[in-house]
Symmetry: C2
Subunit: 394 residues, 2 copies
């Protein structure tokens, strides 16, 4: 059907004839992966998530693949594309991914770069994939090769699974593209015809279940890859593949950063709460152009004194917009100038989630004053001076 689901057909009047005894798919005898030594070397790092899970039709439960290589057996088209080395790193659900895992993945990618791999594909759970892609963009900034994160919205036993095309297109990018960026490669639309590659700092999961849930925010797709293996590059600039084997690697991360939301009636004491707990950074998802309540009419509702107090204490406070699309701008309204004057760093067109990851990374690798300065300067494509009109709901 149009939406990728299968049609059920009535079995009335049909007969069942038992031809023999079956075996569960994970007990199938497996052939060796074909030898492909003359092809570009691609490392496939497996970290868990739906792309590595299958439904067991005996129990009805979802189980993790025993051997991640199983995934490759189901995408025979990959044989002519790359010499793939599979590395099972760990198997963790998306919701449980923390900066510990981001650090481990970054280290393995950097090593793969040193070992001469042309590109790396990381299979990972989708729920927090855009947080991970932002973290890896910063940790591996300037890595000089394609680092492609991919996953699946539907497990690989389902007719509508996106696992195989996502994996295929990701390997094509790692093996053939000249894109030296960390990014996400997933379905671009609801058909099985092409995937889109989104910069790791500009991606966001925008739907709970659709296969084309990942979208570029305030950015365009860097490239698209068809299921026939054709790569089409977009209009946006990106860093190009180079021959250097030296990988950049800065994996520090300070978890004492909070991501909070300002909304009507919201109590600003949450700022003090975090400041008193020793937090070093707070990213606010403000409304519109980067507002918080500042009225003094309803006692205790102005966020200004709390923000000022935290900034004076040395906490870095960054402002983003819960609109997601567009950019914050402290110069339009008086209340915004007050907020900006209190020492809040306006994060331009950066996503709130990316700003959170960036501030954690900055505080884990640089001194506080440098972290504050760098928060509103571009590091890995997360921020640009001018917005393009077209970059909305793409």
């Amino acid at each position: 059907m149009k939406n990728g689901y299968n049609i059920g057909i009535s079995f009335e009047g049909s007969k069942i004839t038992k031809l023999g005894k079956g075996v569960p798919s994970h007990e199938f005898p497996k052939a060796e992966l074909p030898k492909t030594k003359s092809l570009p070397k691609v490392k496939l790092i497996y970290t868990g998530g739906t792309i590595g899970s299958k439904l067991d039709y005996k129990t009805g439960g979802v189980y993790m693949l025993l051997k991640p290589e199983e995934l490759l057996y189901e995408v025979p088209e990959l044989a002519g594309i790359a010499d793939i080395e599979v590395e099972p790193l760990f198997s963790i659900s998306s919701e449980d991914m923390s900066y510990h895992e981001w650090q481990k993945i970054a280290e393995r990618v950097a090593e793969a770069r040193k070992e001469g791999f042309r590109g790396v594909v990381v299979t990972i759970g989708t729920d927090t994939m855009h947080y991970a892609s932002a973290a890896l963009s910063f940790m591996l900034n300037g890595i000089g090769m394609p680092v492609v994160l991919t996953g699946a919205q539907r497990s690989s036993d389902r007719g509508s699974s996106d696992a195989f095309m996502n994996l295929y297109c990701s390997v094509v990018l790692a093996a053939k593209s000249d894109i030296a960026e960390v990014g996400i490669c997933m379905h671009k639309n609801s058909s099985d015809d092409e995937c889109g590659f989104i910069l790791g700092t500009r991606a966001r999961k925008m739907h709970t279940s659709r296969r084309d849930a990942f979208r570029p925010i305030n950015s365009e797709y860097i490239a698209t890859v068809s299921y026939k293996g054709e790569i089409k590059y977009g209009k946006s600039n990106y860093r190009k593949l180079n021959g250097e084997k030296q990988a950049a690697l800065k994996t520090g991360f300070d978890k004492k950063v909070a991501l909070i939301k300002a909304y009507p009636n919201s109590d600003p004491e949450i700022i003090s709460h975090y400041a008193e707990k020793g937090y070093k950074g707070i990213i606010i998802e403000g409304t519109g152009l980067g507002h918080t309540p500042v009225s003094t009419e309803h006692e205790g509702y102005s966020w200004l004194p709390e923000i000022k107090k935290a900034v004076e204490k040395g906490v870095i406070v960054g402002m983003t917009s819960q609109c997601l699309y567009g950019r914050v701008n402290p110069n339009v309204y008086r209340n915004l100038r007050l907020l900006s004057g209190s020492g809040v760093v306006y994060c331009e067109d950066m996503l709130p989630e990316t700003a959170y990851v960036k501030l954690g990374w900055l505080l884990g690798n640089f001194k506080s004053a440098d972290a504050k300065r760098m928060l509103s300067k571009n590091v890995a494509g997360e921020l640009k001076d001018r917005s393009l009109y077209e970059e909305f709901l793409e």
Copy 2:
């Protein structure tokens, strides 16, 4: 230009001839509004925001209109549409709108209903307009007439201002449509050709500056209105205008509700923090289908014990998705079943912001047990059983 901005033309070689002395626009002599007593009676409630602001070209600053009627002088097309009564209620910036203002607006709308108005237009700041529209949807549930919130992304002195068309289309809806819902009417695209009407519980500001920033989430436009005054109804059901003059009015609101976000590395102690401060409700913006970290691998990172403790204390904890589009579903993964089993209310396809406003409203008007039960039941179009495939990035 395509994006609504004016083109600047070089003035080299041109001459300036002074024809006379001008006056600032707000000092223009004003004509009386035309008599339109045979037309449908529409109340225009003015509450502040960009739609009521103008740039003063003498000082360069933005000022609020002295008389909200000024807006109407600039939309002469309205003369034949409705018998408009303007009521300046207050003049408050969007970021400072609280439930106090929502209550006052609701009371005035209900009175207008009793006074025989056919519909009401509320001009309001855009940043928190969707919070206000959700609040009014609940407070005025079953109001039986069109209640249309509108505003402007650009002030009325700008060539690209959306103020006039938004106001025109909103008055058309209030005067002529059979929609008995609270909703938002703003530009549907970046041209000045039509506005879209979005259910108050389904709207979200999705761009910081575009005129078509407001979008229906997990919903379609209820109707569109062209700048020629034509109303086209969409496929979605809506409640129809009826002749009753009795207005529903439940304006209670409990501000002891928090809207928080779950993300990688996030510390769940924020739940206890709010519970100890006497909060009665917490809405979580989870990842994907409604996840929070639940791993026990990294000490202190599982949200489960904190949620359980809060629920046992009587706090209502609701789960929504930060994806925004789609619906939470506790039945797909094991970790989700754990969360659901801990007493978290899964809020189906409800927006996080709407869930926050709804829980504040429920706790302000009903007993806690009823509030918890009603949170996942539809009250004012905020939740439905089945998602439509098309409702994504519209």
